[in-house]
Amino acid sequence: MEECPICLADDQEGEQFGCLNVCGHKFHLNCIREWHKYSINLKCPICRVESTHLEVGEGQHALSINLKMGFMIKNAIDYVGAETTNERNEDDTGEQDQEIEFLSERLRGTLVMDTIKIIQCSICGDTDVSRLSLYCQDCEAIYHETCLRGLACEVGDRNTWQECTDCRSNALLELRMGAISSQLASYDSRNSMIFAGELRDKHSVKTQQMYEQIRNAKHKIQMHVRRALDRYPLPLLRFKDAYKHVNKQVSRKLYRLSDNKYLPDQYDYDSLARTGVHTELLIYCHDE
């Protein structure tokens, strides 16, 4: 009759045992996972040998749980929790515990399926787990909040920035406790006009694809504006600056109109460009 060294109970209660892959010591699955929540390393409680995997079950149903991935997530949560300790009040404590428990459950489900994932922001690709702060509960993608906000300003509606780019879910879990309202208050809405922005283009192919889409959309829209401008005789545009100014103003209006996307099915860009160019020229000549 086997006994778990952590809870001192035997396996009569139906609890499943897990075996650390390096030293071979066995514990109840829930007991060793609970221990890893509190410990500062992945050493065995009995012999202090570091392990990377937890073997569960035997034969064709055997599973190998990657402990390092869960450990990284735990450290990220602990780090974020420590950052907001001074802001947290008593009501947040229970919520914090529930959140950690929730993530632990999700991680258990993920790890049992033996899915190996790189822990990185799905937008910029940065793997510094201490700054990852948004977690999608549906597809388990992880984001920096600044990346999501920046991406929304670049591509979409900044009011819907809390949306997963992989599965479009709204179920993003905030990993900072008690800091949501202050973050929203500190958000500068004027940044919605920034195109270069603060997006990091470090490793992520997705960011480059997004930027490529933006550039293509702007280029196509600008072609309509230039065709409209070219219909005017050159002497009317007395200075080179007139062409530049009108081109810029009308193009920007059309970018904002279609949210930086090229949507020829929804907008008659030629007609809009002609109207815009005409209006801007009148304004420009009047100012002159």
Partner: protein, 156 residues
């Protein structure tokens, strides 16, 4: 099977109590103060032979947190104790009760470790500097100090 954390600590401590009752170690003993509250125990340690504490008995308190055994219990000497690693309030400096804690430790192993600490103090990080000095310098004087501080346990 969802088990609350409070339930875990109670079940674990019940198992420990059963093990202690069937243990053959005579130099240590421990039991809960209140039958309805398993999180507060009192323990007794006999000083090891061939040490300045030989023949003496000491009383300690053990307070178990709700996340025990994943966090160590808080242990203090209730008896007056003169030792390099024990301060005047009875607080103990012992690594297995802090960063070296492991979930497989239990009351018996903790008390046995304290017993070993009596004979082998860690003089590199003393809470009682005079005791640490005297341990190396003058064992006779050390024994006198121990006996001067000692009080018989009246409820043993």
């Amino acid at each position: 099977m969802a088990v609350e954390e409070g339930g875990c600590v109670t079940k674990r401590l019940q198992n420990e109590l059963l093990q202690l009752l069937s243990s053959t170690t005579e130099s240590i003993s421990a039991f809960p103060v209140d039958d309805n509250d398993l999180t507060y125990w009192v323990g007794y340690i006999t000083g090891p032979k061939d040490t300045p504490y030989s023949g003496l008995k000491f009383k300690v308190s053990l307070k178990f947190p709700q996340n025990y055994p994943f966090h160590p219990p808080m242990i203090k000497f209730l008896s007056p104790m003169w030792h390099p690693n024990v301060d005047k309030s009875g607080n103990i400096c012992l690594d297995i009760l802090k960063e070296k804690w492991s979930a497989v430790y239990n009351v018996e192993t903790i008390l046995l470790s304290l017993q070993s600490l009596l004979g082998e103090p860690n003089n590199r990080s003393p809470l009682n500097a005079v005791a640490a000095e005297l341990w190396d310098a003058d064992m006779e004087e050390y024994r006198k100090k121990v006996l001067a501080c000692y009080e018989e346990i009246d409820d043993y």
